[in-house]
């Protein structure tokens, strides 16, 4: 049996908008196996980003259990917050790669330095960093700074960063949301290709149904049903 990379059960999250509590999701469960890809869809504000943040420890759920890469985070078990934070930190540093819609790179570092910074944090060697940039087709831009390259090239560099850390799980939040269709196609193609080749799990938040269809599974937060 394949071990699941990630398992979440009974996740609850609500926000306060003024004095009104707004339910983002209630009793949400999901599971992701090695090599699996899961698409999160739903309209704006349906909680896609919040869910991704919870799954990498950047936000805390009001209730629920998250098991990820062998670590268990249970809202019912009281634990020292700093200890939890350190466990999540270790996971994000070494095993969970996060890609946002934009601004994934430190603006004051070159593309290569960004990748190396990230790889070094993950404990990976810096040797392959240039390779990763080349594999993503932006090898000759390694010494450029983020503001000197196009948005698509920046997102490619962000993918290079994530793959250079050799992650077990990739969380991508609208990674092509600010790119034109053609560039988006190219970038997303590379994402799926590399994910498939390295066998890591992928959760992709998107509002694009076509993109969602390319994932193995699909969770629509708008309807809260897994298909």
């Amino acid at each position: 049996m394949v071990d699941s990379l990630l398992r979440a059960r009974g996740l609850n999250k609500q926000f306060r908008s003024g004095n009104e509590p707004v339910q983002v999701f209630r009793d949400l469960s999901l599971r992701l196996d090695e090599g699996d890809s899961l698409a999160l869809t739903g309209r704006s504000g349906s909680g896609k980003s919040t869910l991704l943040n919870i799954l990498c420890g950047l936000e805390k759920p009001d209730a629920g259990l998250v098991e990820v890469l062998g670590e268990t985070f249970d809202s019912r078990k009281p634990e020292v917050p700093a200890k939890n934070e350190a466990r999540w930190g270790n996971l994000r540093r070494q095993r969970i790669g996060v890609v946002f819609q934009e601004a994934n790179l430190m603006p004051a570092l070159s593309l290569l330095d960004n990748v190396r910074f990230r790889a070094r944090l993950a404990g990976q060697s810096e040797e392959e960093c240039q390779d990763w940039l080349e594999r993503l087709g932006i090898g000759e831009l390694a010494d450029r700074f983020p503001d000197q390259v196009s948005g698509g090239q920046r997102q490619r560099a962000a993918l290079a960063m994530v793959f250079a850390m050799k992650p077990a799980l990739i969380l991508a939040d609208e990674p092509t949301g600010s790119l034109d269709r053609q560039t988006a196609e190219a970038v997303i193609g590379q994402l799926f290709e590399l994910q498939a080749r390295h066998g890591c799990g992928l959760i992709l938040a998107t509002h694009d149904p076509e993109l969602a269809a390319r994932c193995g599974r699909h969770l629509d937060l708008g309807h809260l049903s897994e298909t």
Binding site: R92, A103, M106, P107, A108, R120, L121, P146, D147
Partner: protein
């Protein structure tokens, strides 16, 4: 919706940005107004102090007995405007002067100025005479009756005579010099204020880049947007300047209470700043500053056209710095000196952030550690993006350094100046009928005086230096004394032959004061021809001595060298009696000279009193600079925080990438502390240079005499610690933002957060 409303709508969506902008204008106005107010106070305080030590007339009894309250009543009932002046030792040390503000009412003061004993008495050193009278019961006090100039015209009742009355020696130009320096500092504060306003304005512009782009796309011409921006900033300035002025005045006048108490702890003394100053000057000044600071963009192309079109390059700025420094050494003209100061400050202001950025980039290149490289790159970005508030802080620190050195210098100079003018504990006037020779013999014969005391006689008169263009020669003061002993030999000399005092004692030459040396190019070692009485004598110059604030040239000679036909202007004895009682000395002198009364001045008391009178001025000046520093720090704190906020997303990336918040905070602390520490380091040479200019250049050029220059490394350390504290505060403010999960990168680029 009108265009103005459209422009302003940016702030409706981002009220905090508007608040920050408004706060900065309010703070800057508050700073300038507060400093302006304090400067006025320091000026008034100096005027008061000088009027307190100015020479006046007093009434004494012809029979030499002490004045009493009965004399006061008799003189007042005779219609004379006399005022009691009761000097006593304060139980807390120092001297107190009891005055009667009601009796002082008839004393005319020029131009609505208040004398220090009119209005509210603050105990420094003036108190109500009833308080002083109470102290007299425990220790002796001396009642003098001062008479107003107008009151002395009518003629005195029989049995009384007029005599000069003076608390301390004439400050001469020392006060003027202090005021000139104060003015120079005021201009500097204005510059700092302008920098703060400009930095806020630019930040606002950067924040609204998107709005402008949108308007441009809608077809609104750039010039129209610009015009509206000017209107907007003017409106905002008007709204903010008024409360700023109010706050500034509140701050300055509050020195007597709340804020003052905080500063009291700092200075170990209380401050007194009365009401005064007006609204108009700060209002007009601040409006002008805001206009210039915000319109600089429109002026720049014009200036560029004038200069010749090139963007300024590092080389030309460096050239300006070097030229400014060179000018400051060579010019002999105040205007050019101020030009030089301006050049150095402008160049330093442009270069400092660039230098930090350049150094940080070089460091980053050589860093193997990527976190360090990231930090240095960020430092470089910060230095460039926060250039204006950084420079403002740099200038403020440089100014505080200079003022601290200047004020301490003035205090020290003041002490030395007092010590030089009041060289012995007592000063005994030789009566016109008195023969000095038996008195000198008696003094020389006293074993106690020889063992523990010190004395010399002083003769003052005039001499002429022949030559000059009009052949009439130059008149100089003659200061003759003898024997030459420790009362004078500890004077600091600017220049001297190997054993100048010995030479003076043996009559081998003369010493000249600084004024004479500067104005007439007199050097040590050269021969000076002096016409003393009817004779022309040539003396070698043994030394040049400092003579703080005296506008006239003076030569110091041994009294034994004066020819018999020398016209004595004034003769006195300076005596530090040591173990001998001064009364023994004066009793004997009275006997020798056959007079009932001697004019004896207690120099120690005068010294204490004069110091007490001037303390307030120095205190206020320090308060002024402390205020500047505090507000410049707050400004940097605010700007730093606003700018850091625009990069909050990127700092949070560190957390996303797995650093704990503590580790990320540590990076931020190192970043901001490096920034403020660097600017403090760069402020140091600028501050020392400014001190040097104030003390060694401006003063000699303006007045012909120099102040001693000293540096105070402990104070540098204090400033360094302060800059680190500012850095820490910025980092702590930022670390709070790392907690928030809702930081968005959305307008990060619009805010120039993506800059590198």
């Amino acid at each position: 919706m009108t265009l103005l409303a459209a422009l302003f709508s940016h702030y409706r969506r981002h009220p905090l940005q508007l608040l920050a902008l408004a706060t900065m204008i309010v703070l800057a106005t508050m700073l300038w107004t507060g400093v302006y107010h304090l400067t006025s106070q320091a000026r008034a305080s100096l005027d008061q102090s000088e009027s307190a030590v100015a020479e006046r007339q007093q009434v004494t009894r012809e029979d030499g007995t002490r004045m009493t309250v009965a004399d006061f009543v008799e003189l007042r009932r005779a219609g004379l405007c006399v005022m009691p002046w009761l000097e006593v030792s304060s139980p807390e040390g120092g001297r107190l002067v009891g005055v009667d503000p009601l009796a002082a009412g008839c004393f005319e003061q020029p131009a609505s100025e208040e004398a220090p004993w009119q209005g509210e008495l603050d105990g420094r050193p003036f108190v109500d005479i009833s308080e002083a009278a109470e102290l007299v019961r425990e220790q002796a006090g001396q009642l003098s009756l001062l008479i107003s100039d107008a009151g002395s015209i009518g003629g005195l009742p029989a049995g009384y005579r007029l005599a000069p009355f003076r608390v301390g020696p004439d400050t001469g130009e020392l006060g003027d010099s202090f005021l000139l320096n104060l003015d120079a500092l005021g201009v500097l504060v204005l510059l700092i204020t302008a920098l703060l306003v400009r930095s806020v304005y630019l930040l606002g512009m950067a924040q609204r880049r998107d709005s402008f782009a949108l308007l441009h796309r809608f077809g609104v011409p750039q010039s129209r947007v610009n015009r509206l921006l000017v209107v907007e900033i003017l409106l905002l300035a008007l709204v903010c300047i008024v409360p700023g002025i109010w706050l500034g005045r509140w701050l300055a006048t509050g020195l007597g209470s709340g804020f003052g108490q905080a500063l009291e702890g700092l200075f170990d003394q209380s401050l007194y700043a009365g009401q005064g100053g007006n609204w108009l000057v700060p209002l007009a000044t601040m409006l002008a500053v805001v206009l210039v600071a915000c319109l600089a963009d429109f002026l720049r192309p014009l200036a560029r056209r004038l200069v010749g079109g090139n963007r300024r390059s590092g080389g030309s700025v460096l050239l300006m710095l070097v030229a400014g420094l060179a000018l400051s050494v060579w010019v002999m003209d105040l205007l050019w000196l101020f030009v030089a100061v301006a050049m150095v400050f402008v160049a330093a202001g442009i270069l400092a952030p660039g230098l930090i950025a350049w150094l940080a980039d070089r460091r980053a290149e050589s860093d193997r550690d990527l976190q360090a490289r990231w930090r240095h790159r960020e430092l470089s970005v910060l230095a460039r993006r926060l250039a204006l508030p950084l420079v403002a802080l740099q200038f403020a620190m440089a100014m505080v350094l200079a003022v601290q050195a200047l004020v301490t210098t003035f205090e020290g100079t003041f002490d030395r100046w007092l010590a030089q003018r009041l060289e012995a504990d007592f000063y005994i006037e030789v009566p016109e009928t008195g023969d000095l020779a038996p008195a000198l013999d008696w003094l020389a014969a006293q074993p106690e005086l020889a063992a523990s005391g010190l004395w010399h006689r002083v003769i003052r008169g005039r001499a002429t230096l022949p030559g000059g263009e009009d052949r009439t020669g130059t008149n100089v003061d003659v200061f003759a004394l003898g024997p030459v002993g420790p009362l004078v030999t500890d004077w600091q000399l600017f220049e001297s032959t190997p054993q100048p005092w010995q030479g003076l004692q043996q009559g081998e030459g003369v010493m000249v004061n600084e004024q004479l040396a500067r104005r007439h190019g007199v050097r040590v070692g050269q021969n000076l021809t002096v016409v003393l009485g009817g004779q022309s004598i040539e003396f070698p110059v043994l030394a040049v001595y400092p003579d703080y604030g005296r506008p006239a040239g003076e030569i110091l000679v041994n009294a034994s060298m004066l020819p018999p036909d020398f016209t004595i202007g004034f003769q006195s004895l300076s005596v530090s009696p040591g173990n001998l009682s001064i009364d023994t000395v004066t009793d004997e002198l009275r006997r020798i000279w056959q007079v009932e009364e001697l004019t004896v001045r207690d120099n120690r008391a005068i010294k204490e009193l004069a110091s007490a009178i001037f303390d307030q001025t120095f205190l206020l000046t320090r308060a002024m600079t402390t205020l500047t520093l505090i507000l410049a720090a707050i400004a940097l704190l605010m700007m730093g925080w606003v700018f850091f906020s625009t990069r909050a997303w990127y700092f949070r990336l560190l957390v996303v990438w797995g650093l704990s918040r503590r580790q990320a905070s540590a990076q931020l602390i190192r970043l901001s502390v490096a920034l403020t520490g660097a600017i403090a380091l760069l402020a140091l040479p600028l501050g020392i240079w400014l001190t040097w200019v104030l003390v060694h250049r401006i003063n000699p050029i303006a007045f012909g005499w120099s102040l001693p220059m000293a540096v105070y490394p402990e104070f540098w350390l204090e400033l360094g610690v302060l800059s680190l504290l500012i850095g820490l505060c910025i980092a702590l403010l930022m670390s709070r933002q790392l907690k928030s999960p809702t930081v968005a990168p959305v307008n990060a680029n619009a805010l120039a957060g993506g800059d590198r």
